[in-house]
Amino acid sequence: MKASLFQKAGMGIFIISSALLIVLLFLNKYRLTDAALERAVTDPSERKMLGTALSPMKGIAYQSGYTFNENIEEYLERENQHISSKFEITDMDIGNVISQFPGQDIQYSNEKITNAFDTTETGRFKARKLKDYTSWMNERQYESEQGLREQLENTRQNINTSIINDQGFSDYKIKALKLALTRHSSFGPVSENTTLWLVLTIGLGILGALIFILPKLKLLPGIKNDHVFHSANTGRGWIGYITGTLLIGFYVILYWYPEYMTSWMLLVDPISKVLNGHEASQWFFYGFLYTLAIGVMGVRMIIKYRHSKYHIIRTLSVIFFQVAFAFLIPEILIRLNQPSMDLKNIWPLNYTFFFDYNLSTLTSSGTIGIAMLVWGIILIIIGVPVITYFYGKRWYCSWVCGCGGLAETLGDPYRQLSDKSLKAWQIERWMVHGILVFSVIMTIGVLYTYFTGSSMLLGINTYDIRSVYGFLIGAAFAGVVGVGFYPFMGNRVWCRFGCPLAAYLGIVQRFKSRFRITTNGGQCISCGNCSTYCEMGIDVRWYAQRGQNIIRASCVGCGVCSSVCPRGVLKLENKDPKGRFGEPILIGNDSATIRS
């Protein structure tokens, strides 16, 4: 069907609203005031220190968020330098300490350090630090002054590098402050007319999308893949490249530069306040947009496949789980002062489940916290294997999961872009199982630290493993590549190559499950629709044309291969596991038993 004028208008509205959403980020101005500081920073002493450090910025109206943040960073770095020079332990300080131990055969005692410093704030700080850092040296003998000096030099270096963390602004803290300060110093059109802007961007976006989508109801029900590969969007053309680039940009800002998306947070503040009583974080905005994407594109999915009840039901299912479990329930839990949790997000996809802060929150939140902890563990050790045994991994991946939900709705137009080569399958197996192993090791490390208090396991810092995992897998892979690469490599890049839970579900599905895709005798004509539209890059045709059940760890059971088959060859089934791995056999040729 050629897009009607009406549909084109819808697409126009959608594009304009999306452009406005981007423009919106540049509309507000930024002015640091005491009131803004008050809202951004709760700790009074920290606020006071910040106020002094950032005093040159106060009252200045910044046109650009970039300059504003650049200035924050500059002034805080300057403050850091100041703090360093003030609290740094100098050569002279070391000399003073050593002079407390005259002569040969020194016996060290950290009690003597106090005498080497004055009683100013700086002096007391230095003395305290040195005492702490050298307590292990007490009673030790040093043959000469030289030995002691070497020891103290090392200690001094350690102390000096920790000073910024203790007294100044660490990188991590600067990051958080930039976001908080930008958000609360923001003023201008977006703050003044929040509702109007919400309607113009998100509201119009939904309207435009629906105007484009709904007229597809006029088409007769059935598979409609006309021009999928002719389209500059779905055929890896220029529109696809632009879309992918924008998505990647969005995720980079979301994960690493949220201070530049504060206007979007303002936009959804009213909604956030209704739901959880707080101002919106970047994650609230993301969750809101994510849920809308699944909802609106879910409508498209249902219309496109409305001849198939299987697709209608499972699309409604992913919409439900996203709206209720991923979006509303966690927000309402916050409002009820309970630990917030997406109750269907299972470890190791939910890789922070066993993190110390999560365990502490859950174990200190009474019965409901414990119940959540137990529920999460039950899902991992009983839920996954048992339900996967009965229905295959599809029960999760294409019916419940949020990542799967986005892939099956927003990502559906790109499913045909997955790589079906044997090479891709080989890479996939190494990668996805490698990440499963990585996530397990990371979690073991985290738990080890949680229970023993020691952060070193086999010579590796468990905090380092988890931060590497969070950066590489949690953010870069799942977000940037997982969604940003839809228009390049299909809608299941994360699920196929990266998701450790998919790997776990896949192992169960491959070896112990009733699920399989059966083929219909000798009816396959090798046309290739099934393989082309398999989002997981399974070469379905390879099996269908030789009459072999399709049993693959990666199959998420979306059912599209069966739908696009023009000859009724494929069927997703849960059946007696007996005969699941049957010999491939084609029916129809009685000349001889033909094993394909």
């Binding site: 007769l220 006309d226 999928v228 299987y310 393989s531 000859r567 009724g568 997703l572 040729n589 000349s591």
Partner: protein, 442 residues
Amino acid sequence: MKHIVIIGNGIAGTTAARHIRKNSDYDITLISAESKHFWSRTALMYIYMGHMKYHHTKPYEDRFWKKNRINLIHDYVEKIDTKQKQVTLASSPPLRYDVLIIATGAKPNKFGWPGQELEGVTGMVSLQDLDRIERYTQGIARGVVVGGGLIGIELSEMLHSRNIPVTFLVREKQFWNNVLPEQEASMISRHIREHHIDLKLETELKEILPDKNGRVRAVVTNTGEEIACQFVGLTAGVHPNTDLVKSTAIETNRGVLVNEFLETNIPDVYAIGDCAERRKAIAGRTAIEQVWYTGRMMGETVAQTICGNKIAYHPGPWFNSAKFFDIEYQTYGNVKPQLGANEDEFYWEHSSGKLAMHFVFDKNEQTFFGINTFGIRLKHECFDQWLKEKVDIGHIISHLREANFDPEFFKNHEKDVIQAFSGQYPEIRVASRQRRKTLGIF
């Protein structure tokens, strides 16, 4: 080492090559002028409609052939010399063979219509045809498709996908009425019109008119109507491609003549697939069978014979399938367009006009002969077995549920079918016991 040369890399030739490789260590050479690699001809329409690209239609990755030591030659065979056991190629050196398999496929029928060679007129069989269709249909105002069969409806759907108005000329009273019985032929005809195809039944092509540049300008039908168009698709069936064989000692009739072992009259020369014609047809089947499945099965069978396990080509009960726009079709056994003297029928159609089942059985013995099913998928395995066991119609109707192959959650219609059947044939006992799933899922 024996050298097997196969001319034609369609489903028949390719299947033969694969199975010879499975069962022997012979040298295998697969020659095609059409394409370097095997591709699925059945997917031709999907390339034009943008569902797939050419590379998606290749059932095996390009590295497959080298790995399986099947030597591919992309060239045109000019001559077969059965005495020297040698084939001459257009641009490569001649090839000696020990065994030759002819799998040259079929060509579109052209019945000597005036103007059939004009620019803008083509059949639809090969990749080259696809190129032509692509070229000829750029920016045109109307296309005419001549011939109401499986390729005709595909070509109509293709043009329709590009928003090109289509006039579809069909000689029979309803679409594909020479194969489908009246009831379902009417149903599909209605569906074609629902897609805004200008379906002209009982209408034949008389002449194709050129414009001053020698391009198609219009067609004239047997009713004298002149239809302005810029493209004409000739889809009135295909015939065996025997061009290469005609000048040799290999005997031909309409196709390359073969016996039950798919051997031609010349030793070590076989013919399979669309180009082959049985000297003596198998009972209940035609001498030339031009569907994907028969091509594949002949390939499988000839490979056995060539590898020393000499067996006759003996296909099981007939089956086929197709898709008419949005309506899927499968058939098992024999459902003829007209009932035979000894036959009785039961036709069920859903109120939507998109689902139907047509059963044919022996009037007296009630033995089941065949079924056409539309919009409801049925299991090949069940019907293959039932047809071989010669079960009666009551058994089929009673066990219809077991043969259902529709996706999960699809509405079951067996109850309706049973009810309708019992209404029409109260004397035939039908057991309707259906196991219901708890909550529909367990």
